[in-house]
Point group: C2
Chain length 468, copies 2
C-alpha cells in the first residue's frame, strides 16, 4: 500500500490532527443537502469534549440541523460561510449564535484562505472516492458529486487535511486533490445521502411567470449585442435562469454560432451546450446533477476548476473576469440595483452570496431575473434588507412585467428600447409591484447584528440583524 494514511473513525482522526478548543474546521458543500460529513465531524469533535470551534463551511444546508445542537452546547461558537439555509440559518436569525457570523462569497473565501486571513486548522473533505494516500476524486463513487472546486483552497492551505470517504479504492488517477496535500484518510460507511447530493436531472420550469421572465431576459441579452460568436456565460439552476438559457440556446442554433465557455454550477443543460458543440468548454466549480458528474468524467472540454480560479479577486485573473453574461436571481433588489440574496423580505436568513457578487463584478452584463412579486411581497424595494451584491455591478433587472436598466448603462437601455423591449425605470417596477401587493408593513429586523456580509475583496458591505 505504500503511504497508508488511513485512520479508523473521524474522532480518532481529529484527535491525531491535534484538535483543540478554539480551532477552525473547514468543510466544502459539494454534497449539498445530502452531506453527512460535517455532522459526523462535529459529532466527533463533540465526543472529544472540544469547545469553541469555528466552522468555516462553504455552505450550510438543512441537513446540517445537528449543528444547532453543537452551537447550543458550546462545541461550536463561530460560523464562517458563503451560504446557509435551514435550521442553522434560523438559529442565526433568531440570535442563537452569540458571535457574529461571517458571510463570504465563493471567490472571497479562497481569497481569504490563500491570503491567510481565514486560517484553517483542519480541513475535513468529503471524498466521494479516495485512496489510502489521500488522492481524491469526486467523479466516481456511490456519493459522487463531480467537481470539488470549493475544497481546493482548504486542501492547499489548511494545517491538517482529513479526507473522509465511503469509496476507498487502490489508486485514484486523476486526483482532484492529491496526496501531497492530505494528512489523514478516514474510511466510513457513507459520506452522504446521494438523493440530497445531486438531482437526477435539472428540470426546465413550466411556470408561466418564469417563462415570461426568461423570454424577456433572453431577448434583452440578445439585444445587448453580447450573445454572439465566442460568448461566455453563466446561468444558475433556478427556474427562470434555466429557461433563459433554453431561449438563448435557440438563438445560437438558429443563427448558427457557438459560444466559448459556460461555467459555475454545472447542470445537464450546460452539458448539452458542450456535447452539442455550442460551447467549447465548461468550467465546473460544482456539479448540480448526475449528468454534469458524468460529463466531467468523460468530456475533455469539461474541466474542474478551483473556487479561486473561478472567482477569487485575490489571484492574477479569475474566470469570472472573462464572463460576458451572467444570469442571477434575487430575493430583493432595490432602487440602486443592490441585490439581497441573504434574507427573505422579513429579514430571515435564507441563503448567501455564493458566487452572486463575484460573477456580477466580473461579467460584462449582469442580469438579475426574478418575479416582481413573491409570496405577496414586492421583490423590488426601496432599500434591500441586506446588500449581497452592490448595485454598481448589476446592469439589468428582468421581471415578468418588464425590465429596468441600471442608469450607469445608458447605452444598454437604448439597445433594449431599440429592440422594442418593455424597459422602465426601476422605480416604476417598484410601483407596479406595490400596486399588486399594497404597501407592505416595514419589517426590517431590529435585533443585534448577527452576521456581517463580507464582499469578495474583504470589505464588510452590510450587517444582518436578528429578528426579534
Amino acid at each position: 500500500m505504500g503511504l497508508d494514511k488511513t485512520v479508523a473513525g473521524l474522532a480518532q482522526a481529529l484527535a491525531e490532527a491535534g484538535l483543540r478548543d478554539g480551532m477552525t474546521l473547514s468543510f466544502h458543500h459539494h454534497l449539498r443537502n445530502g452531506d453527512g460529513v460535517l455532522n459526523m465531524a462535529l459529532d466527533g469533535a463533540s465526543s472529544l469534549g472540544v469547545k469553541g470551534l469555528k466552522v468555516a463551511a462553504s455552505s450550510i444546508f438543512p441537513v446540517h440541523a445537528p449543528l444547532v445542537g453543537h452551537v447550543k452546547n458550546g462545541t461550536v461558537t463561530d460560523l464562517d460561510v458563503n451560504y446557509m439555509s435551514g435550521p442553522v440559518a434560523d438559529l442565526v436569525s433568531s440570535g442563537g449564535v452569540s458571535s457574529t457570523v461571517t458571510f463570504r462569497t465563493h471567490g472571497g473565501r479562497p481569497r481569504a484562505i490563500e491570503s491567510g486571513e481565514l486560517s484553517v486548522d483542519i480541513a475535513v473533505i468529503a471524498a466521494p472516492t479516495c485512496d489510502c494516500r489521500g488522492n481524491i476524486s469526486g467523479v466516481i463513487g456511490p456519493s459522487a458529486c463531480g467537481s470539488l472546486g470549493y475544497a481546493m483552497a482548504d486542501a492547499a492551505h489548511a494545517k491538517t487535511v482529513i479526507a473522509v470517504t465511503d469509496n476507498l479504492i487502490s489508486r485514484v488517477v486523476p486526483a482532484s486533490i492529491d496526496q501531497s496535500l492530505v494528512d489523514i484518510v478516514v474510511p466510513v460507511g457513507s459520506i452522504g445521502d446521494p438523493s440530497g447530493i445531486v438531482s437526477g436531472t435539472t428540470k426546465i420550469p413550466r411556470n408561466p411567470v418564469a417563462l415570461t421572465i426568461a423570454r424577456y431576459a433572453a431577448s434583452a441579452i440578445d439585444a445587448s449585442g453580447l450573445w454572439r460568436e465566442g460568448v461566455s456565460f453563466q446561468t444558475g439552476a433556478g427556474g427562470a435562469s434555466l429557461a433563459t438559457a433554453l431561449y438563448l440556446r435557440e438563438i445560437m442554433v438558429d443563427r448558427g454560432f457557438r459560444g466559448s465557455f459556460a461555467m459555475g454550477g454545472i447542470t445537464s443543460q450546460m452539458v448539452r451546450f458542450l456535447e452539442d458543440g455550442l460551447v467549447d468548454n465548461l468550467y465546473d466549480v460544482q456539479c448540480f446533477d448526475l449528468d454534469a458528474v458524468r460529463s466531467l468524467g468523460v468530456n475533455r472540454g469539461h474541466v474542474e476548476v478551483s473556487a479561486s480560479l473561478y472567482a477569487s479577486p485575490g489571484n492574477k485573473g479569475p474566470l469570472v473576469d472573462d464572463l460576458d453574461v451572467v444570469i442571477l436571481g434575487a430575493a430583493e433588489i432595490d432602487l440602486d440595483f443592490n441585490v439581497n440574496v441573504h434574507t427573505d423580505s422579513s429579514g430571515r436568513i435564507i441563503g448567501g452570496s455564493g458566487g452572486h457578487s463575484d460573477t456580477a463584478a466580473g461579467a460584462k452584463l449582469t442580469v438579475v431575473v426574478a418575479p416582481l412579486v413573491r409570496a405577496r411581497l414586492p421583490m423590488v424595494v426601496d432599500r434591500v434588507i441586506a446588500v449581497s451584491t452592490p448595485g454598481s455591478t448589476v446592469d439589468l433587472l428582468v421581471t415578468e412585467r418588464g425590465m429596468a436598466v441600471n442608469p450607469s448603462r445608458p447605452e444598454l437601455k437604448e439597445a433594449l428600447e431599440r429592440a422594442g423591449l418593455p424597459v422602465f425605470s426601476i422605480g416604476h417596477l417598484r410601483d407596479i409591484a406595490l400596486s399588486m401587493t399594497g404597501i407592505p408593513e416595514e419589517v426590517r429586523p431590529q435585533g443585534r447584528v448577527v452576521a456581517e456580509v463580507e464582499y469578495r475583496d474583504g470589505r464588510i458591505i452590510d450587517r444582518i440583524r436578528a429578528i426579534e
Copy 2:
C-alpha cells in the same frame, strides 16, 4: 479577448514586472537543450542594465552558453540549479562564478520554493502553448515538451509570472498552469529548437556492456521479490536503464502480471508499458520524447504531476515515497555506496542530482547501474568527489562484472545469492576496477568551494571545489 495580459517583448515584460538589481529569476528546463527562453530573458534583463541577478533554473544545458557572458558582465551573479552541464558548468568548475552555486534536487527545489526558502521574484515560463490570459499547456505547439511539472511551484509562488510562448491560441483547456497564476504573456517567434527539446524516440542501446548490466539488474530486481503484481517503478533514459526496463517488461509479460505505475521523466518505453496495459498509470514530471508528449495528450492514465507532488519531502506525501524500485545511474560510487552524479572523476561539474537522491530516498529498492570502468577510470572509488546521494539510500550497485549490496540490506544480499547472481563486496568491485585501470592519479579538486550540494531536505551534504 477578456483578460489580455500580452506584452510585446521580454525586456518590456521584465520592466513591467519591476525587474531590479539583485532579483531572483526562475526558469524550468522542459525544453532542455532546445530552450531559447532563458537566454532571451537574460538578454532582456541585460538590455535593461540590471545587475546582480540570481538565476534559479531547474537545469542548465549547453544551449545556455550565453549565460557565461551574463555572469562575466555582472548581469548574473548567483546560480541555483538542480543540474548543469556545458559551458556554464565549466565556468563554475573553473571558479568563474564568484558566489557559491546552490545545487538542489528536483524535490528539494519545490520544497524550498513552497517554504519560502527560495524566494522567486520573477518566474519566466517557457510556454509551448498559451492564451492571452496566461493559461499554459506543454502538450501542443511547435515547441511542445509535454509535462510542465518543474515549472509549477515557480508559477504558484513567484511574485510575478511571465509566460513566453510561440503558440498563442484563443483558449487553452485544460491548462497545466492557469491564468490565476500568470501576470504577463509574451508572444515570441520561437521559444526553442524542437530538435533539442525532445528526441523523436528513445533508443534501447546495443552496447554489450550496457546489456550485461541490464540483464544483471533485471535479474536482481526480480530476485528482490518486488517485481510483482502492482509494482511501481522509475527508470531513467540512460542506456543501461532503458535496457533493464526492457528485460523487466519481458518478465511481466511472461508471468502475466501488471504494475501499478511508472514515473519520472517519461519515455516512449514507459508509454508502451501504459498502452500495453502493463501499468495503470504514468506520473509525468517531464517528457523525454515525442511519444511521451503525444501520450500525455491522449491517455487518461498518463498524468502530469508537479515536481512537488513528484518528489518534495516538504509536502504530505510525494509520489517517490510510493516507489518500489528505482534504477539510477552514477558517475562514481564509493565504498559507502555514496553516489556522485555532480562531477566526473576529475571533479569537473557535469550534472547534478535531478531526482536522483529524491527517488533513492523514497524507493524500497534503489538500484544503481553503471559500467565498472569509464574512460579508463574506475567508477567504484574509495571516496566520491561529491556526495549527490547518500549511500544510506542506495541498496544495490550493478556493474557488468557483478553487483554489490549495501551491508544495511543483508536480506537483499541473501536473496540475490540464492538466485545465483554474482554478488561481491563493493570493495571487491573496486579492486576489479583497479585491476583494469591501474591505480589512477588522485585528482580531487583543490580550489575554493564553488558549489554546495543541498540535500532534498535543505541540509548541505557536500561542497564542490574549483578545478585549479
